[in-house]
Symmetry: C2
Subunit: 460 residues, 2 copies
């Protein structure tokens, strides 16, 4: 019997106890955004410290200005094996609105459904259940002879509030946290039977523009005509940002954007993605993105420009014949591939300035600029992880993109130069951030088995 | 000695007493918008009733849901003379901010300046001082043999709050108020030495558009690309509303817009209007209206389209990657000549609808639609008033336009079919609606003389 089969058997026989352990963590209301739960965040961190210590990790709870970090290290049984850094977060979203929960969000329980059991509690899927899949995989290895890779674990307690302490912590502990590869379990599967590896995260540039015109608000009766109207100027800028194919019209915007490899494009094309349903769920019927791209491409692998907010003049009830002195808009750009955030900012600002008529000036506020993250399709770690997941699930994992950004992953790439393998077992209907959050037992069980296989293939 | 010279002499000899009478009215703080001054509005109305009664008018104070109307009638000494309706308002703007007044706003006094005396108080120019010019002209006639025209006077006390009671009052008292011509003294002179007759008031169409897209706000990470963004749709609409000559691009918008008569165009061209200063006073340097029109034309005689407000998505501090379900904007159209407000509304709504992509719908709110008012340049009353003012001031009066709208004048035109002669003696620096409001003694004195001459010429 090969060693991995022993490890998987251990995970299977440990399952009931593993669920009870997860319940212990889920029972702690570690809501990071609400100061009333600060002690619970400490308790959750300490719970993980104790848990990892009992497995044989060298662990410490590191205080920050906010909630503490958990850092743990364990060596493999062999030398000259890869060193992985696993990241997860023990903090959770607030449980509100409480009245919509069918059971107490912090009294975890198993619900029986026709498709099997599920774990119900705040944080079941995001991210306590997911991070424990990795811990349980480590446990199974450690109880059957030792880890196949050197493992460092970093759990933070501020992910749901934007990870304010993380950048400084990374900078201060660079050497301790540096590894060959980063692993994250905070994403989803394609569906209940099909695993996914998220290889692409779009980057994000956030720019605000305030267009200033006259020195004060003017009466449109007196000045309507001769006085420039900043709302009109902004409207022109918004309109010009896309061409009639819905492509972003900023010069150079598509520099660094590459087409998908043929096999990935084919995989996406073959997916049972119901684009009509995706749109219909939010009241839409036609994709509004680039004309020649599928919806999946539009959200996973294509860059965008969005206006997230605009305001100027009178916005109350009724009317007011004012010509405002200023108007402002917030723009976000989702970036892919090798698009350079700084170049996008520069191109955008030049684009705006070129459209300013006489007597207008633009004030720019930057709210962040981060590049896209792309695990190279040629990566050896990716090839091994694909093999491991295929073995566990009997299906080729989907090489997914993610329309959103995960700033933490960017920070690890930027500060520690590490690529990240994002493998998660969440499902679209897990109701993360919502009442009655759940995590499928199959996700929890096969998730732990998946990590065991991934660690095993990475080490051979 | 012709009769009019006697009347003018009476005005001259009455001047000190006239100022004292005006002071009596100015001392009543008839602030219409603040319920705390409701009794003062009653007092001001009653003051006018008493004043007009003492002159021989048949007068009544008519209560409304708000502040009362004063209606007065007096017959001319001769029969078969024109019947004029004079309109003014006895209510005033609040005096706030009080600390910026150099003297008590309701303790009227005379200030001496190198150019002459001025009357300082809230309402001195808007509109108590102006309306008393007409009353003093009537007094002089009545003390020297009688009025040359039949005169009806209507004073209201709600002009500064949008005249809410006026439409119903007009409808209920149509026969009593109907006259051959309406006279209003609530406008300004061209400058201290040059009178003006306002012959054009721009009309006003107020439209609000709400563009609806998805059924709820979306996350731009998840939906940026395939989901339509109502702000973008609105930006396109705003941008398309003007062509590159700054002309309004609505089909049919300029139907009914006529060029100025040659002599009026020449008069405007010859005016000492400092367009650079006009713009520089509000921080601008270049006219932003139609390319081939002067600033004076742009505000007096040309129609415009303005965006008075726009709002959509996240408008707080920082950023939020939201794709809003809706965005809205408020538009105003200033109309001139024979532009049809209903046709403008219809064209605008069609214009918006044509620019709605799939999955977007537009909701329209109307906040009013009134046509422009134009006293025909060929009007006999206008010709006579020009002659009268020329005689008094030694200069041809400017045939001015007004960029703003005066809804009351529109209501009289629409409901009673009366043309209006707007002659006022305010100056740009009178600080109406602001602290230290004043009215020049020359405006008050020569204003009364002007009305005497106008009434005289109208009757001959």
């Amino acid at each position: 019997m090969p060693a991995i089969e022993q490890v998987l058997g251990k995970i299977d026989s440990n399952l009931d106890a593993a669920v009870q352990r997860l319940f212990g963590l889920l029972a702690i209301p570690s809501v990071s955004t609400d100061p009333a739960f600060a002690q619970d965040c400490q308790r959750a961190g300490q719970w993980l410290v104790d848990e990892l210590k009992s497995l044989g990790f060298e662990v410490s709870l590191r205080q920050t200005a906010g909630h503490p970090m958990v850092v743990a290290h364990a060596k493999a049984k062999r030398r000259d094996v890869p060193h992985v850094l696993f990241y997860g977060h023990y903090d959770v979203q607030p449980a509100d609105p409480l009245e919509l929960w069918e059971t107490d969000p912090f009294k975890p329980h198993l619900a029986e459904t026709p498709e099997g059991q599920r774990i119900v509690a705040r944080g079941a899927a995001d991210d306590k259940g997911q991070l424990m899949t990795f811990v349980e995989a480590c446990r199974a290895f450690m109880e059957t002879g030792g880890l196949p890779c050197d493992v460092t674990i970093l759990f933070e307690g501020e992910e749901e509030t934007g990870s304010p302490s993380l950048p400084d912590f990374l900078a201060a502990n660079r050497d301790e946290l540096k590894a060959d590869l980063m692993l994250v379990c905070d994403t989803g599967m394609w569906n209940k039977d099909t695993p996914a590896i998220t290889t692409m995260l779009r980057g994000l540039v956030l720019e605000e523009v305030i267009v200033h015109g006259a020195s004060r608000d003017l009466h449109s009766g007196m000045f309507g005509g001769p006085a420039i109207n900043p709302i009109r100027v902004l409207g022109r800028i918004v309109a010009d940002l896309h061409d009639d194919q819905n492509r972003v019209a900023l010069p150079g915007f598509y520099d660094g954007v590459e087409d998908l490899p043929h096999d990935v494009a084919e995989q996406w094309h073959a997916l049972d993605f119901d684009q009509q349903k995706f749109l219909a769920d939010v009241g839409l019927s036609e994709p509004a993105g680039e004309h020649d791209r599928s919806v999946l491409e539009q959200i996973w692998s294509r860059p965008t420009c969005d206006v997230n907010g605009i305001v100027g003049g009178y916005t109350g009830k009724g009317s007011k014949t004012v010509l405002p002195a200023q108007a402002s808009a917030k723009f976000s750009f989702r970036l892919v591939g090798k698009q350079d955030p700084d170049a996008v900012v520069e191109s955008f600002r030049a684009f705006v300035r070129e459209r300013l008529p006489a007597d207008c000036r633009a004030e720019f506020l930057s709210h962040g600029a981060s590049p896209a993250l792309q695990l190279p399709f040629s990566s050896e770690a990716l090839a091994r992880a694909r093999r491991a997941l295929h073995q566990e699930w009997g299906r080729e994992p989907v090489l997914a993109g993610s329309g959103g950004s995960i700033p933490i992953v960017g920070a690890f790439k930027k500060d520690l130069g590490m690529d990240t393998l994002m493998i998660g077992f969440g499902l679209d209907d897990d109701r993360i951030h919502s009442p009655n959050e759940k995590y499928e037992m199959s996700s929890f069980h096969k998730g732990a088995r998946s990590w065991a296989r991934v660690l095993d293939t990475l080490s051979t």
